[in-house]
C-alpha cells in the first residue's frame, strides 16, 4: 500500500532530473568514426537529440518503485475481475522465461541452434490441441482478440475453399466486445442472438438468424454471465446444419479444463488467452498470447510457419502450407509468454488442470452462496468460474460503480462492472485464492452493504485510501491531455 507520505502528486519523469544528466554510460567508441554528413543526407540528421528525460539511476529507481506502489496487483490484492481470470502468476514461470536460452535468442538464428525452443513450442502446440480436443494449434496470435481475427480468417478461407463467401457471424448478446470488433476487422457483419432470462442462448432466435450466409457462430461457454450453456451440442448442430462453423471464445476455459473439451462439444475453432487460463502475467494490460486451435477440416488454413517435428525427430518451421491464410504478425509469436504457459501446463499437468477448473468453480459458487442473502444474483446456480451480482441500492443512490470503488478501500480490486448486463458486478475469484481470502471478500461486501444503509455517502465518495479520489473522466475526454509538454 501507499504510505501517507507519498500521497502527494508524484512528479512525472519530465519534471525530474537536470539537463546533462544521464544514467547510462556506454563504453568509449572503439572504431574509426564515419562522417555522418557524408554518409547520410544532411537533411535527414537531427540537429538536437530527442527531448528524453535526463535523470540519474537512483532517481529512476525511486520513480518506478513509487509508481509500482500505486497499483493494485494480484501479488498484493484479491482481484476478482470477472472474465479476466486474475489468477496467481507462478514465480517459477518468470525464472524460466528469463533463462538466456529462451530470453536471448534471435528469431533468425538457424533452426539447428534453437531446437530447445522449437521442441517446447511443439509440445505446447500438442498440449493445447489436446486440452481443446481439436486437431492442431497455431501459436502465432499475439492476444485473444488477435486470435479471434485469425480464427475468423481461417473460417473465411474454409468457406472460400468450398466456393462460398459467407460474411455473417452470429454471437450472443452477452459476447465480449472483441467478438463483433474482430468480425468488423475481417469485413464480416456480426448479428446478435438473444439470450434467455436464464443466460442461455435462445435457440429459437438462433434458428431464425442462422442461414446459408452465416459463416460462423461465436460463443463463449461457460458464457459471460457465468453459466455453462447445456444446449451447446444442439447449438453446434443447428450451426453446422447450415454449413456454418462454431467458434469458441476461450476466455472462460478456466472453468472446463479437464472437464470438457471444446472439440468434443462441436467447436471447430477456438482461441485461448494464455494470460487468463495459463497463468501468464497480465503486465498492466499485456503481453498476452492467443493460440488458436482448429478441427481437422481447418488445419490446412492455419497461419504459417507451423512448428513441426521432422521424421528424424528434430524440430523446425514448416512454411510449405499452400492453403494457409499467411502470417498475422512478424516472426513466430509471443514466445516469452508461451514459454511461461508451457511451464505452467507442465508443472500442474493433467490432474492439476482439472483441479484448476474444480477449484475455480467451487470458489465462485461459494462466494455466490454467501452473498446471495444480501445481493441479488439474477442467474440460477450452479455457476461456472464466475457469477453476476446485481446490487440493488438505488433508493440509497448507490450504484455498482460506488461499491466497486469502495472495495478499493478494503484492498480488493473491483470486479468487472456494468457488463454484460446493466448495473451488475461480475465476480471471478479464480482457483488460486484461499478460503480466508474468499471470506474476507464476503465480509467486505457485507460491510459495504451495511455502510450503504448507515452512511451511504461514505460509499458514494469512495475510494478514500488511494493517492487520489475519483477522477473526472469526462474532463479527460473533453480536454485531452495525452502527453506531457514543456509548457503544460
Amino acid at each position: 500500500m501507499i504510505p501517507d507520505s507519498q500521497k502527494e502528486n508524484h512528479p512525472l519523469l519530465f519534471e525530474q532530473g537536470a539537463p546533462g544528466m544521464c544514467a547510462v554510460t556506454l563504453p568509449m567508441l572503439d572504431v574509426p568514426t564515419t562522417d555522418k554528413k557524408t554518409a547520410l543526407p544532411a537533411e535527414m540528421l537531427r540537429s538536437t537529440p530527442p527531448a528524453l528525460p535526463e535523470i540519474g539511476e537512483l532517481d529512476i529507481v525511486r520513480h518506478y518503485k513509487r509508481l509500482s506502489h500505486r497499483c493494485f496487483s494480484v501479488d498484493e490484492n484479491f482481484y476478482p475481475l470477472g472474465s479476466c481470470t486474475m489468477k496467481y502468476n507462478p514465480r517459477i514461470n518468470e525464472r524460466v522465461a528469463a533463462m538466456p536460452g529462451f530470453a536471448h535468442v534471435h528469431p533468425y538464428q538457424l533452426e539447428s541452434d534453437v531446437q530447445g525452443i522449437l521442441e517446447l513450442l511443439y509440445r505446447l502446440r500438442c498440449d493445447l490441441a489436446e486440452i481443446a480436443g481439436l486437431a492442431e494449434v497455431t501459436l502465432q496470435p499475439a492476444a485473444g482478440a488477435h486470435g479471434e481475427m485469425t480464427g475468423l480468417m481461417i473460417i473465411e478461407a474454409y468457406h472460400a475453399s468450398r466456393g462460398e463467401r459467407r460474411s455473417k457471424v452470429l454471437a450472443p448478446d452477452s459476447a465480449h466486445g472483441t467478438n463483433p470488433a474482430s468480425c468488423a476487422c475481417c469485413g464480416m457483419s456480426s448479428v446478435s442472438v438473444a439470450s434467455m432470462p436464464d443466460g442461455r442462448v435462445d435457440l429459437d432466435d438462433l434458428r431464425r438468424k442462422v442461414d446459408e450466409h452465416t459463416a460462423a457462430m461465436m460463443i463463449t461457454n461457460p458464457n459471460t454471465v457465468g453459466v455453462f450453456d447445456d444446449q451447446i451440442v444442439e447449438i453446434a448442430e443447428i450451426v453446422h446444419a447450415h454449413g456454418a462453423l462454431l467458434y469458441l471464445d476461450g476466455a472462460n476455459m478456466d472453468a472446463i479444463l479437464g472437464i470438457a473439451r471444446p472439440g468434443d462439444f462441436g467447436v471447430d475453432v477456438m482461441h485461448y488467452n494464455t494470460h487468463k487460463t495459463f497463468s501468464t502475467p497480465h503486465g498492466g494490460g499485456g503481453p498476452g498470447a492467443g493460440p488458436v486451435a482448429v478441427a481437422e477440416h481447418l488445419v490446412n488454413f492455419l497461419p504459417k510457419p507451423q512448428v513441426i517435428q521432422h521424421e528424424d525427430g528434430s524440430f523446425g518451421w514448416d512454411y510449405h502450407r499452400h492453403d494457409s491464410i499467411g502470417i498475422v504478425r512478424s516472426f513466430y509469436g509471443q514466445i516469452g509468454v508461451l514459454v511461461r504457459a508451457y511451464a505452467y501446463i507442465r508443472s500442474i499437468g493433467r490432474d492439476g488442470l482439472r483441479d484448476v477448473a474444480e477449484k475455480a468453480v467451487l470458489n465462485a459458487n461459494y462466494l455466490a452462496s454467501r452473498l446471495k442473502h444480501r445481493f441479488k444474483i439474477p442467474f440460477p446456480p450452479p455457476f461456472a468460474h464466475e457469477f453476476i451480482l446485481v446490487p440493488e441500492f438505488e433508493s440509497a443512490g448507490i450504484t455498482e460503480h460506488d461499491i466497486a470503488k469502495r472495495l478499493i478501500d478494503y484492498g480488493i480490486h473491483p470486479p468487472t462492472m456494468s457488463w454484460p448486463i446493466h448495473h451488475c458486478l461480475m465476480i471471478e475469484p479464480t482457483e488460486t485464492e484461499s478460503l480466508a481470502t474468499l471470506d474476507r471478500f464476503v465480509e467486505a461486501m457485507l460491510d459495504i452493504a451495511d455502510e450503504i444503509e448507515n452512511d451511504p455517502s461514505l460509499v458514494k465518495t469512495a475510494p478514500h485510501t488511494m493517492p487520489i479520489k475519483r477522477l473526472d473522466e469526462v474532463a479527460a475526454n473533453r480536454n485531452l491531455q495525452v502527453r506531457w509538454q514543456q509548457s503544460s
Binding site: A23, L26, N89, A145, G284, H413, S434, A476
Partner: protein, 445 residues
Amino acid sequence: MKYTQLTESQVEKMLTTIGASSVESLFRSVPEAIRCNGNLGVPRGVSELELLRDVNALAGNNKHCEALLCFLGGGAYDHFIPTVVDAMAGQSELLTAYTPYQAEASQGILQLFYEFQTMVCQLTGMDVANASLYEGATAAAEAVTMAANIKKRNRMVVAASIHPDTMAVINSYAQERELDIVILPTPNGTVSACDLASMMDDETAGVVVQSPNFFGCVERLDRIIPRVHEHGALAIVSVDPIGCGMLKSPGEFDADIVVGEGQPLGIPLQYGGPYLGLMACRKELLRKMPGRVVGMTHDADGRRGYCLTLQTREQHIKRERATSNICTNQGLLAIRASIYMSAMGKQGLEEVASQCFHKAHYAAEKIAALDGYSLRYDKTFFKEFVIQTTRDVAKIIASCRERGILAGVALSRFDEDWADCFLVAVTEKRTKQEIDLLVDALGAV
C-alpha cells in the same frame, strides 16, 4: 505442482455452505456426453525441481546471443539492456496488475503509460501516441486500416523496402478489409520520389514507408512525404526507435502516422516476441487511432491524476464500430521501453544511435573491402546493411557460425532473387575486435 490452496476439509465446508453434495455436482450443467472426465493426453504434473530439469534441458538446447556474436537484425536487434530495466520492470506490482480500467487503483501504471506516450512522441516528433500495439508489423497494418478509415479511400501504396513480414501482415489485414495494396518497387534499395509520384492518385488513402528500411537504408522522407500529401493521402512511416536518436524524426517531415517495432528499446530478443508495437500520429487523427490512450485529468480535490481516455474508440464500448479489435496490448513491454528510454535519456539514446552508426559503417567498409563481398546498396544506411557476395551465402553463415559468429540474415528466406545477399546489423554492443572477427571469418570462407 498445484497453485490452488484449499484443503479437503475446507472443500467440504464450502460444499456445505453451497448446499452441494460434491464438487462434481457443480458441473451438472455440463452434459455427461461431452465430459472428458480428466482424461487428457497431457503429462502428469511435476515438482518445481523436475520442471527446472525439463526447462533447463530445453533452454540448454538453444544457442543464445550471450554466448554467440550476434550480427543478426532484420527487425530484432541485440542492443544493450541496462540492468535497471530488468530490475524495475520485474517488480511484481507491475507484472501482475491488470489493464488500468480502475483508475484510482492504477495510478502508477497509468502514469507510466502517460510517460511512455510522451516519450514515443518525443522520439517520433508526433503530437500523440497510444499505449502500445502488439508489435511492429501489426502496428503498420493497423495504421493502414486507420488511414483507409480516415480518408474513406481503399487504395494504399506500400514501399517494397519495408520488412517482408510487415508487408505480409499488411496484406493479410488489407485483404480482410478489401483494401487495394499497391507495391512500390524499390530496385535501388530505397523509394524513389519520382516513382512514388507516378503511382499516386486521388483514390490513394496512404503510403507506407519504413526508414531505416528493411535493407538498413535511410529513406528520403523530405522528398517522399510531400508527394504523398499532394494527393491528400496520409504518410505512414515505420521507424527504428534507436534511429530516432540520430535521424530527424518523421514528425519534422510532416508524417501523419508513425509506427515502429519497439523491441530495440530494452526488450530481450526472446526468439521474436513479445515485442512492442509503437504508434503515434498527428493530434487531429487521435480519435481514429486504435489502442488504449491514457489522459491526464484531475480528481474531486483537484489533484492531478490519470485515466484511460477516448474509450469510445475501443471494442469494449463501441463493439463492431471500434477503431480496432485490440484489447490486450503490450503494457509491460511499454513499461520496459519507458524505463529504457529514461535510463538512456536524451544523451544516451543519441550515443547508442551514434555508436551503432559508426560501428555499422566500420564493419561495412571492412567487409566490402574483402574479395567477393560488396555493399548491395549505397552507403546511406544506419545500423544495418546488405552484403552481396559471389560466394555461397549458406556456406558463409555456416562457416561463421562454427566460429561462434551469427554473421547475418540470409535474404533468400524472404525472396529467392536475393539468394546472393545477407543482411548484417551492428549494434553498440559489438566491439571493434568482434567486428574484426566477423571480417576475418567472412574472409576465410
